[in-house]
Symmetry: C2
Subunit: 462 residues, 2 copies
């Protein structure tokens, strides 16, 4: 292991040169004119996979951008990791706000600035360099590795689902590993072990059969905007809990261990409120802000509209009013059940003076990888060795659809080992990757490959 | 008087021919390409005024379309009526939905179909024919008459205010007479003696300083859409009364006489609800639908918006949410005071977790012409003679800004003597004027000119 780590140390400047080369390809997936660049980038990744010693490299075409596959499967009896990443990047507009050209990676201070440096080419590259260090020094990996790097993550991964369905056997593994997230803060390595799910609804409140003059009719019929506001206002109680009956039925409570782990994270409510520009925080009683966002189900109105919304005044009593309302879910809530409870409740509390239609737009399940699972345990050990610091535990309030897909289609839990930083400007000008995190990431992944079999065996022995 | 009424009877077909000629001019005020037609229409009106015996005809240019003035001021000691009307019309789109060409007036059944037939050329013409009948038969009018017919009513009368201010002396009179409204129903002649006022507000609820991801932040801060809904939901109580303290302080109660008068109007709650397509009516407890709309102050959200309002789903926790909220006012509420009470109340009930800004967009006062006033009394007598039926009393839930302007600038009450019908399609295809109402209108106005001095004297005697 020392030899491998020394190799990494000795090749830092070459690693950076190669990464600069990868980052110079403008693989903006949403721009049709960059299609050749995406092809070129997939080719670059495939070539590089081959050069570091991965096998069976294959570039799968899709109706959109290609998916690059490779593997190394000679560690008999050892666990198999399915590594996922993406080589496509966000657009660079407004390009004039970049300090240096987005596709000419530039080091300033301890950061490397370029589009894709953090999200996600830089993090994909971390894994390739770890593989290289193993292969050049030992001729083998301590685990079996399957890799898929797609080119459409920034535009919704629309062809990944059918790819995974079609290649279920090819992709069988013991766990999924993804490096596409951020650490909790600078110098605070962390493991993200949970994501929230989603049930996204649309509510339509129908009043009169046409827009009416609010002078000639106002006062005699129920304005659908008012009816909608009355409905939305009833969806939370005084303790800011969601009032839908049954909503909390299957919520897995936070364990003492989890709550203690969250408390260890560096956190300031007032700094958080200041950063968001709000006077005070506001959430479910009895929980901290991080608990509210990561581990409690919530209901938010994502949009509302009805009547006249232009400049000035129009005295209309509108025929309809609309709201988009989504609920973030936690284990073990099920999105379809929650959508049904929502619809039932809305129809029950809707005033009889209006008609209410509820549509389930889409949803997805929450995901959690138990803290005691070998993947998380190995990640903890690897991060501690890679960064010289005990990592902390975090969850994430949003969803990562591919994590849910891997769980549903392949039955696999995911370990999220991200080396970005919260302020890395992933979708904005001056995206950067912290170089300490880049090299710490390579070391961590190297350790992770080495540690995982140990924790897997420990579980089997139990 | 008999001679005058016989003259009207004997000239019906010529009247219709002349009206057809007036209606053939496409005086659509909003279309720049029709500007010459508006000039021509103003000229036509001026010429016709002269031909029926009015004097001092003058066409006042404005930065928009001209205002036509005329008078006849030789009835010494008699009251002076300021007649207001407009010669401009609404656009005709969708023109393919017209049964006959909008500018070729066509009689079908008992109606004359053409753009402007009811709103308002046909009603202006009623007055000119009444004047003609007097002048041809007696050489004089029983009252003094000043007439202004403008060409921008359908686009907001934007140059009328400065015209009235500039010609305050020229326009001095005892009352304003307007024929630009409808009777309550076919064969139900009615006098409209009250209009509601308005205070139009905009509310802005400010939450975080930027749009946030509802997954990563939802649950920890107050969503401004929710805060707005909570505010709007609190603006009415269980009896659907407005909850703003002081809101009802200066509301003039309905008199027994008024309530009795409204009860005489042909009305069906279920027909009204059916026509509007609502399951049930909904308004302030203790009042009928007509009372709610005509004589009670109300509060309506005219528009609401915030967050994502497009197709599909976007998981945003928006930075801001907005509502346009207007209050219809009745005598003796004052719009500026109500606007202040509104702002104070909104700021008081707004959650401390958000910031709320309130803007007063514009307002206007309610107007009422007492049932006992000579103008209303004369209108009642005139309608009974003109239509052979006792008229009923009504108010109107909307505002007519010029009525407020005449009150504010000239100190004059207005009598609204309208001969349209509620289903006349004033701003839609197949606009029509009922011919019974047209000729009944000419008779009524003739009687009104004759009756007014009598009622004015009665008041002076009291």
């Amino acid at each position: 292991m020392d030899q491998i780590l020394e190799y990494i140390e000795g090749n830092k400047s070459r690693y950076l040169d190669e990464l600069r080369d990868l980052l110079s390809i403008p693989s903006i997936s949403t721009n049709p004119e960059n299609k050749p660049d995406l092809e070129r980038c997939a080719q670059w990744i495939g070539d590089h996979m081959r050069s570091v010693g991965l096998e069976n490299v294959k570039i799968f075409p899709t109706p959109g951008h290609p998916i690059v596959y490779a593997d190394w499967l000679h560690a008999r009896g050892m666990p198999t990791i399915l590594l996922y990443g993406h080589y496509d990047v966000q657009p660079v507009d407004p390009v004039e706000l970049w300090t240096s050209s987005p596709f000419e990676a530039t080091i300033r201070g301890e950061n490397l600035y370029a589009r894709g440096s953090a999200d996600d080419k830089g993090q994909v590259f971390i894994h390739l360099k770890s593989v290289e260090a193993y292969m050049k020094n030992t001729g083998r990996l301590p685990i079996n590795l399957k890799v898929i790097i797609e080119g459409e993550e920034e535009i919704g991964s629309m062809h990944l689902d059918s790819f995974v369905r079609k290649h279920r056997n090819l992709l069988q593994a013991d766990l999924v590993l993804i490096s596409d997230t951020s650490m909790f803060a600078k110098n605070v390595p962390s493991v993200c072990y949970g994501l929230r799910g989603l049930a996204y609804m649309q509510v339509e409140v129908v009043g009169p059969n046409r827009d009416l003059h609010s002078g000639s009719f106002g006062g005699s019929i129920h304005n659908p905007v008012h009816a909608l506001c009355e409905i939305v206002a009833q969806l939370h109680d005084k303790n800011r809990r969601v009032t839908i009956p049954g909503f909390y039925d299957h919520v897995r409570p936070l364990t003492k261990k989890e709550r203690a782990a969250f408390k260890k994270l560096p956190w300031s409510n007032s700094r958080y409120a200041n950063d968001l520009g709000v006077r005070k925080l506001y959430g479910e009683k009895g929980f901290t802000a991080l608990e509210q966002v990561w581990a409690r189900p919530t209901l938010e109105c994502n949009g509302i509209w009805g009547g006249f919304t232009g400049e000035g005044a129009k005295t209309v009593l509108p025929a309809k009013a609309f709201a988009k309302i989504s609920m973030r879910l936690v284990p073990d809530q099920k999105s379809e059940r929650i959508a049904k409870l929502f619809e039932k409740h809305i129809k029950k509390i809707a005033p009889k003076s209006v008609q209410v239609n509820v549509k389930y737009v889409h949803g997805g399940e929450a995901a959690i990888t138990p803290l005691e699972s070998p993947g998380v345990q190995a990640a903890v050990a690897a991060l501690e060795k890679g960064f010289g610091r005990k990592p902390l535990f975090q969850r994430e309030g949003g969803s990562i659809p591919i994590v849910v897909q891997f769980k549903q289609l392949l039955g696999l839990d995911t370990v999220l080992l991200g080396f970005g930083l919260p302020d890395e400007n992933a979708h904005a000008p001056d995206e950067f990757l912290n170089l300490k995190n880049f090299f710490g990431g390579i070391r961590t992944i190297t350790h992770f490959y080495n540690e995982l079999p140990h924790y897997m065996k420990m579980r089997r022995k139990k």
